[in-house]
């Protein structure tokens, strides 16, 4: 056994490699990106398995599903909102079943450090009726990933690993074991994998009949742990994942520890919960994310004769990330003594575009081009350029989800907004913008789409983009945008006046225009120079 310092994300990745991974796929997104970053590096060294960035999460999921169909082990990783994009194959893969072990790793972002919402992926696992592991630390992230592949193969459905930012982006030592060989090639049964209604009904029945067994498996998992305090029945704590760490942190000296049930697997291990609840008068549920366990305990009527506290009762905030302090307060312990905060509140320091960033030049030109257009609106998307929201640019009015800029601009234009401008990065365009542009081209909607081509996926650390340069221009032309209204500009201060002119011309054109602003991300150019 060797011990390595790994990010939580990396522990999952290494666990997958050691479980005999044949192929992993992903689309970048904080806090999940480092899973595939690690796999790509490891695959380059080992040359025995595939690790590839995909165009979006749905594509990544389907690629992984194909690997599983072929009897071999597959992993797909993404951030929480990525699972929305992949939700279609995700929900149905629970019906097809798997060939080789199929593990879906989803990293949630409670507190929205780098996300537009804080949805809890455990609900997706519950929705699809598949098992889910929730590691509390790095060792579990590694061990659970290995086990998840075995479980997936044994019960013949996909298995989810749910991470959260604090584990994904924290480092700790992990003891690793021997690598298992990869599976051989074996093809899926067409009756299981062809979800025609007649087949799908049978497959759904199988999934439903599997549920009692899944609960039993969860109840018997070595990762769950029930410790009853025979001397004190006043309080019992149910804590899942990283919340369990925060509970134990507050009893580090071991004194006055209440009964504690650690939940690490789903479906919720009912029997263990019943045993804890029977032992105590009051139950505190601490979980990172939405109150999944708490809600299932509460139901409509609560627990007769017992007190149940947690997020729903207001003892722990419903929004945001847990902390050792918020859990401590819910445990009824007084805060630790601490240094007084400074007399003035330190001014916030939001993230911002790098000095010399190409997006900055595009926004400066766009702001000028839109001057005097009182009803203009700029629909933006997800990437570094979302920082154009902040002064001195204050250039954008929306950011909702990957690709939303183009569709929203079309809708807004049809509702009477003029000029309607969409601003979208090259990779985001490939991810979810192409179909929306196809729709706008089909209707020749009066709008301007500005594709910011910085030749990389910048915000998440410079992963490869598939829709940059010449291919991007061909796609834009290919979906039906008239060639004379596809304009390429270089966002540099010396072309400022020229760029404003191009934008004004295309705003004036009563139909669809696409302006592609091409200049490489500075950060990536710098990294490239260093490598060369």
């Amino acid at each position: 056994m060797t011990k390595e310092i790994l990010l939580g994300d990396e522990a999952v990745a290494l666990g997958a490699v050691h479980a005999g991974l044949t192929a992993g796929y992903s689309y970048p997104g904080t806090p999940a990106s480092e899973i595939m970053e690690y796999l790509v590096r490891a695959a380059r060294r080992a040359k025995t398995f595939v690790a590839a960035w995909s165009v979006n999460e749905k594509t990544a999921f389907e690629e992984a599903l194909g690997v599983s169909f072929a009897g071999r082990r597959a992993l797909v990783s993404m951030k929480h909102v990525g699972l929305n994009v992949a939700a279609d194959p995700f929900m149905s893969a629970a019906l097809t079943g798997v060939g080789g072990g199929f593990v879906v790793v989803v990293a949630d972002d409670p507190g929205m450090h780098s996300s537009q919402n804080e949805q809890d992926s455990r609900f997706y696992a519950q929705f699809a009726q598949i098992p889910c592991y929730e590691p509390a630390d790095h060792q579990e992230a590694y061990d659970m990933t290995r086990e998840a592949f075995d479980l997936s193969e044994r019960i013949n459905i996909p298995v989810m690993i749910r991470l959260v930012t604090r584990l994904s982006h924290s480092r700790a030592g992990v003891e690793t074991g021997e690598a298992r060989p990869q599976n051989g090639l074996r093809y899926g049964d067409r009756q299981c994998w062809t979800l025609l209604p007649m087949n799908a009904r049978a497959q759904f029945k199988r999934l439903l009949e599997l549920q009692p067994e899944l609960i039993k498996i969860s109840e018997g998992s070595r990762f769950n742990n029930l410790e009853l305090n025979p001397a004190d029945r006043s309080l019992g704590v149910i804590a899942s994942g990283i919340a369990h760490n925060y509970v134990l942190e507050n009893f580090r000296d071991g004194a006055n520890k209440p009964s504690i049930l650690k939940v690490a697997t789903y479906p919720v291990p009912e029997e263990l919960i019943k045993r804890l609840v029977a032992h105590v008068d009051k139950v505190l549920v601490a979980e990172e994310g939405y109150p999944l366990i708490e809600r299932s305990l509460k139901g409509f009527y609560g627990i007769p004769g017992k007190t149940l506290i947690g997020k729903l009762s207001g003892h722990i905030p419903l929004a945001g990330e847990l902390s050792p302090e918020s859990v401590r307060a819910a445990l009824g312990m007084k805060p630790l003594e601490r240094q007084a905060p400074s007399e003035f509140k330190p001014a916030g320091r939001p993230p911002q575009l790098c000095i010399g960033c190409p997006h900055a030049d595009t926004f400066k030109a766009l702001n000028k081009a839109l001057e005097g257009q009182a009803k203009s609106n700029v629909f933006s998307d997800i990437g570094c350029y979302t920082l154009g929201y902040f002064p001195p640019y204050s250039a954008i009015n929306t950011c909702v989800c990957m690709g939303a800029s183009v569709g929203m601009a079309k809708g807004a234009a049809e509702a009477g907004v003029f000029p309607a401008v969409a601003v979208i990065g090259d990779s985001t365009f490939g991810h979810s913008g192409i179909t929306a542009l196809l729709s706008a081209a089909a209707y020749n909607t009066n709008m301007v789409v500005i594709v910011l081509d910085n030749c990389t996926v910048a915000m998440t650390g410079g992963q490869p983009t598939f829709t940059s340069g010449d291919r991007l221009l061909k796609i834009v032309e290919g979906v039906g945008v008239p060639k004379e209204h596809i304009r390429v500009i270089t966002p540099l201060p010396k072309f400022h006046e020229q760029n404003i002119r191009v934008m004004k011309e295309e705003i004036a054109h009563p139909g669809l225009s696409v302006i592609v602003a091409v200049r490489e991300c500075l950060e990536e150019a710098r990294k490239k120079n260093k490598r060369e």
């Binding site: 700790a172 507050n250 630790l336 911002q352 002064p391």
Partner: protein, 194 residues
Amino acid sequence: MTTSRKQDIILAGVGGQGILSIAFVIDSAALKEGFNVKQAEVHGMAQRGGAVQSHLRLSKDRIYSDLIPRGEADLILSVEPLEALRYLDFLRPGGKLITSSTPFVNIPDYPDKDALIGQVRRVPGSVVIDSEALAKEAGTSKAQNTVMLGAAAKDLVVGEDGLREFIRVLFAPRGEKILESNLKAFELGRRAAL
């Protein structure tokens, strides 16, 4: 070097100042000395010129939380004075504050520098280092993070030789000149805090 079974450190600064590099040096050295290590860091959006911090926990015993509880930090080590103040309530009574005096001004409402340092001085035993001057003296203004690491050396639970070893591991691949500058920056910071 100080001796203790555990040390909780908040590393603070602005995205791009090299917080994670300092974290790497400290936790690699700590691991070699038999400490358990947990290091929570900030990736993604916030890294772009925003406030970043890392929670670094070293302990001979088991470490539970990835985050340091408010009131548990033994040390705040900051490469920027405003960022030093942002996390004051993490510091335990008697905990130490070591900060650079060099402001990183990228926001319009950045406070007056003297007022800032005044707030830092309210923390008993706080150490203020002119990291910019020392880094320039060492050969590169980019080495302010290493200056601050040097300034904290005598207050860390890991030995100075271990810190030097991993400064080498970190900077050797970037060339002899950068390595030398950083080793010098470490020494200048260390002496400034004596």
